[in-house]
Symmetry: C2
Subunit: 329 residues, 2 copies
DNA sequence: TATCGAATCGGAACCGGTTCCATTTGTTTG
DNA sequence: CAAACAAATGGAACCGGTTCCGATTCGATA
């Protein structure tokens, strides 16, 4: 079967402690080093990392819990986390919950059983149960994308992003605006971003703003858009995400309404695809790679018991497309 | 610190072998069961899975190597793999290589050190080095998306898909067609799909077909499209992937050419987004979830040393959008 | 009540590493 | 050349589980 450190020791005619020292850079004479090196090369020996972490009480695993893998935002964040962690000799264990909130709890427990050194939770909401579970774990947990008082968090500046978008749309002269938001159990998107948008719109002079609620997916957003247009005729629609905006776009083009001539549209996200869509979508681009890198470095610090700021904010930039019409002059 | 099986045994006043038996369903009397259960509940004990797999020589980890996480296809396949594996009590270890081919080799070795029970490699190409490395591992490896004689593979029916697309486009009366393909080191897309398209076009009567090579990303495809249009005026462009087709679309709309009135366009992939794009892209949708589920079940069989067919093929469907104009009648 | 087999349980070895400690070997210095 | 010290090495314990094996307990039967 697989060669073990005992085999190496036997074949090299030394004690296994000497082999271990050789592998970990202890005091070994050149002569025995050579002997051991030779045997290891001949046998393709690879140390069993389970046995290593059993003694070391450190697995160099970091667990990441993501709501889904097939969204632009999460996968970009995940890629960045993975790359950064690997640079620092950690292995990333990604669990996806398929947006089922109870699977988040389950995943937290499962990861703690795997004895990961730390957990990054890309969250969509945060219940009492989450908080309890995390506190019962004896592992550092970093929350990404939601703000919770009790834990270390990395968030986007959703209020400010929303505010700038609201101000921009209102600044183009849009007075009656529909906002396609999401559940308020999502603090980041459902509460902060929304509040930012409302404040921005208000400050910019929009006086007829209506809020509608949709799921995160394209189909539902398309359906809600259709419904809302039956009793409200805004000059602009703001989607809480780009996907939601695309959903609205789907309905609009089906109804023969042109963007931005007949109605304006904007979103949040900044997917690559947005630039091919005609008209290019006006949106907010979050710096997802930066978020991922920051998350990776933060969780490593946490496992080393260094102090980290409880709340860190990742940046964004405003992308002006052609999807919002200027109603002024 | 963390409670161990020894603590439980001590607190319950039994031997640790009894606790182990309790946990694994051996012969334990009701009375001691109750005692142990009580202690375990009080202490929130979770067995250390490293210690378990050390003895068991089985980790219940399956490693998955993916070229990237931020592509629609890979992330859908990954989600399906992960869900299916979890159902069967396996943990998925996802490594992304950021499209660097040498990191695939590195990842294979790294996963074997983690003693995963099996590896699923979502491949973009297959070199001699890959084959050597895989053979030197003593772990079952399943190749997805590429066909290699030596190993078990799951592929899409790329030739047939290409053929149907070629036939369709030619059938609409397009005689001069540009194909935006990729490197032939990618056997699936770069060779089979291409050959299918060429054969389909040929059989459908297209007589001026030119092949161009691009990277997989949108930007490069946009650039190549611009170049090719300088000395070739096809009535249709076929992209090897939807992303490549979007890249072409970007250039076309920048040059003021309308799809499909001025030029027709099609792709491969079937992303959600394709239906919002106007015009809806004609494309081939692969059944990525099915591929993932099949991959998960196959690798489990392989770890159990069951025989599996060396080559399995996953299906696709033709999606007719509005991006290919009928030049006939 | 003695006997016997099955159920229950504890002790010890094992998985493959790391690390402490004591011993041996080698080198330097007085 | 002996003493003193450092370097090199082997042996044993340990990490936290599982499993084998032998001992004990228990209940049923004769």
């Amino acid at each position: 079967m697989n060669t073990t450190i005992n085999d190496i020791a036997r074949l090299a005619g030394v004690a296994k402690s000497t082999v271990s020292r050789y592998l970990n850079g202890g005091n070994v004479s050149e002569r025995t080093k050579a002997k051991i090196r030779k045997v290891i090369e001949e046998t393709n020996y690879e140390p069993n990392s389970f046995a290593q972490s059993l003694k070391a009480k450190k697995t160099n695993f970091i667990g990441v819990i993501a709501p889904t893998l097939d969204s632009y935002v999460t996968s970009t964040v995940l890629m960045a986390i993975d790359e950064e962690l690997r640079k620092q000799d950690y292995t990333t264990l990604i669990l996806s919950t398929s947006k089922q909130i109870d699977r988040e709890i389950e995943s937290l427990i499962s990861l703690s059983r795997q004895k990961v050194d730390g957990i990054i939770l890309i969250a969509t909401g945060m219940t009492e149960k989450h908080i309890e579970t995390i506190q019962s774990l004896h592992i550092p947990v970093l929350i990404v994308a939601q703000e919770v008082e009790q834990f270390n968090c990395i968030i986007n500046d959703d209020y400010q992003a929303g505010f700038e978008m609201g101000q921009y749309v209102a600044g183009k002269g849009h007075q009656s605006v529909a906002y396609l938001g999401v559940t308020k159990s999502d603090i980041a998107v459902g509460q902060r971003r929304k509040q930012g948008i409302l404040d921005g719109l208000n400050q910019g002079g929009a006086n007829e703003v209506k809020v509608f609620q949709t799921e995160f997916d394209l189909q539902d957003a398309a359906r809600i858009t259709e419904e809302l247009l039956e009793h409200f005729q805004p000059t602009a629609i703001i989607g809480a995400t780009d996907t939601i905006a695309f959903g609205a776009l789907k309905t609009l083009s089906r109804l023969g309404k042109k963007v931005p001539q007949d109605i304006s549209l904007s979103g949040f996200g900044g997917y690559n695809i947005s630039e091919v869509i005609h008209p290019a979508l006006t949106t907010i681009r979050y710096n997802n790679r930066e978020t991922g890198i920051l998350a990776a470095n933060t969780i490593i610090k946490m496992t080393n018991e260094e102090v980290v700021p409880p709340l860190q904010v990742s940046g964004f930039s405003f992308i002006e497309g052609e999807s919002v019409q200027n109603l002024k002059g």
